[in-house]
Symmetry: C2
Subunit: 255 residues, 2 copies
């Protein structure tokens, strides 16, 4: 299985604290060593880094831990291969363009007997069940809407589509178009919403603390979604099985 | 205007020597300082780096100059904005998926009165003429072939399509699907084919020499395509205006 990390904020925010703890699980506190990736939106633009080395000692991951890339929407993934060989084209997150926007997707789980009909313009490049699921979601979104709909309309469509894949197995996923972060849980997914007053946080996976109060302004809002809680002194909320939440401007939108 | 760098090889090859000289033009020996990007194929997988900082002092470009990523097909670009603001989404190279393969495109030039009909599944994310041209090429390729055709068939189709864009202005471009590198010139484009016996080369843009003989095996073949020759002691061949060449396994395919 793999692990997911997502961040959605109301102001471009540095993800290095969370990413540092997360990548400890790729060789040190976990065995998710079959590649990794991260994508950062900057307005409509995207920085996308994938690597089939272990995130704990990949030179590219070292750059990400050291270079403050600020973003309002980030999706990261560390891989433990279940389907598909260890190769660059099988590293999440995956990227496609739809309606003149980039879409980013990462999946944790294992889908059985899943061979969706992909008759449209989204075809997988690699051999994972995850990329097939992403291509099918993109295809069905493009069939459901002629152009980019509102975030609420997208959430309704995704809530209709996700169960069709989730019945094939474990389908925890993160999806973003740079405006919002959608998160769906079959099994393990947790989130936290950080806002004023900000406090000190202690990573679970390494001896690192950060005082968010000194890094933020009182208006900042930051939501983090992850397979297993990243900090030991904060309250993380577990997703229900089958739940799909959307995060906009650093907080979960009420449904 | 911008500058282009492409490499096509018969074995995964380190592009750092050429990239180092090329990025000197992004602030030191040239003024192409409005962003840059590079894409490396690794089999079907792709590493794609873009940055709106100057390549001469971007931390990501420093990583690329220091970390030996070996690839058979590379496309790089340094930007001097003519159309479209300086932003991440306007940095070349651009990437799309077609027929289950990634396609990478970079453009040097300026297209006037160019508003192609984009009614299919390829829409620009940014605001450049270049990304519009790429989307139109992808759309027309997907209309011309139901699945991935041979390299020779693709070359024939691209030779039919390129003049339709080139009539709008300067259309020097590089395109790759990881199997071949296509290069089209309106004005400035040069190439070199390096093979056994390999010699020493001296960069034009910085005081750096490399002895390719000590870096290669006698079977290696490497073709490099660039806006202006990178080395001072080698013979570079100029493209004719309107010429489209395809490079496969490190050499130009005869047409």
């Amino acid at each position: 299985m793999c692990q997911l990390l997502g961040m959605n904020c109301n102001t471009p925010t540095d993800v290095r604290f969370s990413f540092s703890g997360f990548t400890q699980r790729a060789g040190k506190t976990g065995d998710h060593t079959d590649g990794w990736g991260i994508a950062f939106f900057e307005d409509k633009g995207l920085r996308h880094f994938v690597d089939h080395e272990r995130a704990i000692d990949s030179p590219v991951a070292k750059l990400i831990r050291e270079y403050p890339i600020r973003s309002k929407n980030v999706i990261a993934h560390i891989r433990k291969a279940t389907q598909g060989v260890v190769s660059l084209e099988n590293c999440h997150p995956f990227v496609r363009e739809l309606w003149g926007h980039y879409w980013v997707f990462a999946h944790n789980g294992d889908l059985k007997n899943f061979s969706p009909k992909l008759h449209s313009h989204f075809q997988p490049v690699g051999s994972t069940d995850s990329e097939q699921a992403f291509c099918w979601l993109m295809q069905e979104l493009s069939k459901s809407h002629a152009r980019m709909p509102s975030i609420d309309e997208l959430t309704i469509t995704l809530r209709e589509l996700a169960p069709g894949i989730a019945k094939h197995g474990t389908f925890n996923f993160l999806l973003s178009n740079g405006q919002a972060l959608w998160a769906h849980a079959s099994t393990h997914l947790y989130y936290i919403e950080r806002k004023h007053p900000f406090m000190q946080a202690q990573l679970c996976d390494e001896d690192l603390k950060v005082n968010f109060a000194s890094e933020t302004t009182p208006d900042d809002k930051v939501a983090v979604v992850v397979t297993a809680p990243l900090t030991s002194n904060e309250e993380w909320t577990a997703f229900q099985s089958g739940e799909l939440k959307v995060f906009v401007n650093g907080q979960a939108r009420e449904s």
